[in-house]
C-alpha cells in the first residue's frame, strides 16, 4: 500500500487548495448536521412530553387531543381501571384535560398564529411533577387565571406575566405565571382552569383526553386491551411517549426531507469542488504516480491512495462543519406542528449519532468526489505517466 503519510502530506503541502475545498465540504456538512439537529430538537420538544409509564386515552379515530372528546362517565371508568396507579390519598393517578386551539396576535404585530390551550384540573402538577412554575404563581382553581409556557411567553400579544388576552370573544384571562418543562411542548401551551377552558371552547361535560399513570410501563397492553375492547367506550389507548412521537412525525419528516434535499443539492457543488481539486492533484503528480507504478505498486493501491486522500480532505471539512453546527445549539426557533396546527418552539439539538452521520456524510462526499480522479490516476499508462 502507498503509505498514508504520502496522502496526508500531499494535502498539507497544497494548504490553500485543501483548505478551500474542505471549507466547501464543511459548509454542506454544517447544513446537513443543522437539519438533523433541527429534527432532533423537534422530536425532543414533542417527545419529551411523554413518558413510558403513562397512557393517553382518546376518542377512537382521533390522533390528536384537540380533535378528541370523551364523556365524563367514560372518563371516570377509565381512571378506575385496575392497571392505574393509586396515589397515597386513595385517588387514581390520572388527569382529564380539555384541549383547544386559539388564534392569537403575534407580539410583533405580524399576523396571527395558533396556540394550544389546555384546561387542567387543580392537581395537574401532582400528575406532571416535571412541570414547574418559574415566574409568578400557579393559577387559582376555578378562576380566570392562566399560566403560559416559557417558550411562548412574550411572543403573543397579552401572553406575558401580568397581561391578559381573550380566550373567547369578551372573555379575558389573566396571565399569573410562567411554566417550564425541560423544553417539552407544554412550554408552548397556555394552561387554564378546566372549567374556564371547557366553557371557552364549548366542551361541556367532556374532556379531550385522559392520561393515567400505570402501575408499571409493562401494564400498558393489559390496560389497552381492557379499554379498547369495551364497545361502549369507543376509546383508543396509546403510550404517551408514542403519542407524542407520532404527533411530531409528520413535521419532523417534512423538515428532515426538506433539509436533506437542500444538503443534497449543496453537496453536489462540494463534491464537484473535491473532484476538481483531486483531478488537479492527480495531473500534477502524474510522474509520481508513474514512479509508484514502476516500483510495482498496483493500480488498485494507486486508486486506494487517492480515494483515501479525498476522504481525508472531506473529513477535515466535515469536522469543521460539524463543530460549527454545534454552535446552532444556541439558536431558538419556532415552527408550526402540522399535527396540531399550533406553534412549537424548539432548539437545535446535537446528538452523538448526528455527529457520526455528519462525518459519514463528509466521507461519502469524499469517496464520490474523489472517485473519478482516483480512477483516472489508477488507469494511467505507466510510461505516459512517467514522461509527464
Amino acid at each position: 500500500m502507498v503509505p498514508v503519510s504520502y496522502s496526508v502530506r500531499n494535502l498539507m503541502v497544497r494548504r490553500t487548495t485543501t483548505a478551500a475545498t474542505a471549507l466547501g465540504i464543511g459548509l454542506v456538512v454544517f447544513v446537513f448536521a443543522s437539519v438533523l439537529m433541527l429534527g432532533a430538537g423537534l422530536q425532543r420538544a414533542m417527545g419529551r412530553s411523554g413518558s413510558a409509564d403513562v397512557a393517553i386515552v382518546l376518542r377512537a379515530g382521533s390522533d390528536a387531543e384537540s380533535s378528541s372528546g370523551i364523556e365524563l362517565p367514560a372518563a371516570g371508568l377509565v381512571t378506575a381501571s385496575p392497571e392505574v396507579r393509586v396515589r397515597p390519598d386513595g385517588r387514581s393517578d390520572a388527569v382529564g384535560e380539555v384541549v383547544g386551539v386559539l388564534a392569537l396576535d403575534r407580539a410583533g404585530g405580524e399576523g396571527m398564529s395558533n396556540v394550544q390551550v389546555r384546561g387542567v384540573p387543580d392537581d395537574v402538577y401532582r400528575f406532571r411533577p416535571s412541570v414547574h412554575v418559574v415566574a409568578g404563581r400557579a393559577a387559582a382553581p376555578g378562576s380566570d387565571e392562566v399560566v403560559v409556557g416559557a417558550a411562548i411567553r412574550g411572543r403573543f400579544r397579552g401572553v406575558d406575566l401580568g397581561q391578559s388576552f381573550e380566550i373567547k370573544k369578551n372573555r379575558r384571562v389573566r396571565v399569573v405565571g410562567v411554566i417550564e418543562d425541560r423544553g417539552s411542548s407544554f412550554e408552548s401551551e397556555v394552561w387554564g382552569d378546566i372549567d374556564t377552558v371547557r366553557a371557552a371552547f364549548g366542551r361541556e361535560a367532556l374532556v379531550s383526553s385522559v392520561r393515567v399513570g400505570l402501575r408499571s410501563a409493562g401494564q400498558l397492553d393489559a390496560f389497552k386491551r381492557a379499554i379498547e375492547t369495551n364497545p361502549q367506550l369507543g376509546l383508543t389507548v396509546k403510550r404517551e411517549s408514542v403519542y407524542y412521537e407520532e404527533l411530531a412525525q409528520g413535521t419532523t419528516t417534512f423538515l428532515t426531507i426538506l433539509g436533506l434535499m437542500i444538503a443534497f443539492f449543496f453537496s453536489a457543488g462540494a463534491m464537484i469542488g473535491a473532484m476538481i481539486t483531486m483531478h488537479a492533484s492527480v495531473a500534477q503528480r502524474s510522474r509520481e504516480i508513474g514512479t509508484l507504478r514502476a516500483l510495482g505498486f498496483s493500480r488498485r493501491s494507486i486508486l486506494a491512495s487517492f480515494l483515501f486522500e479525498s476522504v481525508v480532505l472531506s473529513l477535515a471539512g466535515g469536522v469543521v462543519g460539524a463543530l460549527a453546527s454545534l454552535a446552532m445549539g444556541l439558536v431558538r426557533f419556532n415552527i408550526v406542528n402540522f399535527a396540531t396546527w399550533s406553534e412549537v418552539v424548539f432548539t437545535f439539538v446535537p446528538t452523538p449519532s448526528i455527529v457520526v452521520s455528519s462525518l459519514l456524510f463528509a466521507a461519502l462526499m469524499g469517496l464520490l468526489g474523489g472517485f473519478f480522479p482516483a480512477v483516472r490516476a489508477a488507469r494511467m499508462n505507466v510510461l505516459d505517466a512517467l514522461r509527464a
Binding site: 502507498v2 503509505p3 516500483l295 510495482g296 512517467l386
Partner: protein, 231 residues
C-alpha cells in the same frame, strides 16, 4: 517463483527477434526492428545511440514497463510476454531496481521514507523495513540525510537516494535511463562509482542507457543502437 531456467548459466536478459511498433494515426512507426540481445547475470552493460534510436524503449521492455509487439522477452528467468499487467507489476517489484534521469523521488517523503517505498510491497514488518532502508542509505553514503526531504538535497544526493531505493529490495537487475543526464561531472562520477559498486560488490546486473562515453566506459559491454537495430 524459482524455476529451473533461473540457473546461473541462463542469461539474465534474453531478447529474441524483438520488434516494437507505435501507431500514430494511420502511420506505423517501427522503433525496434527484430532485435536480439543477451545479457549475462552480473554484467554491467551500456546502451548508447542517437536520440530517438529506441534506447529507452528497449530498456522499458527489459524492465517490464512495456510490452514487445513481437518476439521473446525473458528476464530473470521469467517470460514477460505472457504476463498480465498485475504480473508485470509484481515482476518489477521483485526483480527490478529503477534509476531515473530526474530521480523521481516523492517530494513529500523523507529520504528514508523514499527508500522504504519498495519495501511496502513486501511482508516485512515496519522495524525491518526501516532498518533495511537505513542500511541502503548507508551504502550510498547518505545515512546522515535520512530525515531530509528531496528539496533539501542536491541533485547528486537525490540520485544517490534513488539508488538506495533501487537497491533496497535486493533486485536482480538495476535499470538506469540516463542516470547522470541531469548531473555535473563530479556528481555523475559518484553515481557511476556507485553503479559499479552495485555491480561488483552486490552482484547486480546493471543495464544503463547513456549519451555519455565517459559513463559508458564504466560498463563491461556497450551496445550501440541506431534506428532500432544494433550496429
Amino acid at each position: 517463483m524459482s524455476s529451473p531456467e533461473e540457473s546461473a548459466a541462463a542469461p539474465m536478459v534474453e531478447l529474441t527477434n524483438v520488434t516494437k511498433t507505435f501507431h500514430r494515426g494511420a502511420e506505423t512507426l517501427t522503433v525496434l526492428d527484430g532485435l536480439s540481445l543477451s545479457i549475462a547475470e552480473g554484467s554491467f552493460e551500456a546502451l548508447m545511440g542517437p536520440s530517438g534510436s529506441g534506447k529507452s524503449t528497449l530498456l522499458n521492455l527489459v524492465a517490464g514497463l512495456d510490452r514487445a509487439t513481437s518476439g521473446g522477452v525473458r528476464v530473470a528467468g521469467q517470460d514477460l510476454t505472457a504476463m498480465t499487467d498485475g504480473d508485470l507489476a509484481a515482476f518489477r517489484a521483485r526483480y527490478i531496481g529503477f534509476i531515473f534521469q530526474s530521480y523521481n523521488l516523492m517530494p513529500v517523503l523523507t529520504a528514508l521514507e523514499n527508500v522504504e517505498l519498495p519495501l511496502l510491497l513486501t511482508k516485512l514488518p515496519s522495524a525491518d523495513r526501516k532498518r533495511r532502508a537505513a542500511t541502503a542509505l548507508r551504502v550510498v553514503g547518505l545515512e546522515d540525510r535520512a530525515d531530509h526531504y528531496p528539496r533539501q538535497l542536491s541533485g547528486g544526493q537525490e540520485q544517490r537516494v534513488a539508488i538506495a531505493r533501487a537497491l533496497v529490495n535486493d533486485p536482480k537487475i538495476i535499470v538506469a535511463d540516463e542516470p547522470t543526464g541531469d548531473l555535473d561531472r563530479k556528481s555523475a562520477d559518484q553515481i557511476l562509482a556507485l553503479l559499479e559498486k552495485l555491480n561488483k560488490d552486490f552482484k547486480k546486473t546493471v543495464v544503463m542507457v547513456t549519451h555519455d562515453p565517459e559513463a559508458a566506459s564504466h560498463a563491461r559491454v556497450t551496445h550501440h543502437l541506431n534506428k532500432g537495430a544494433f550496429q
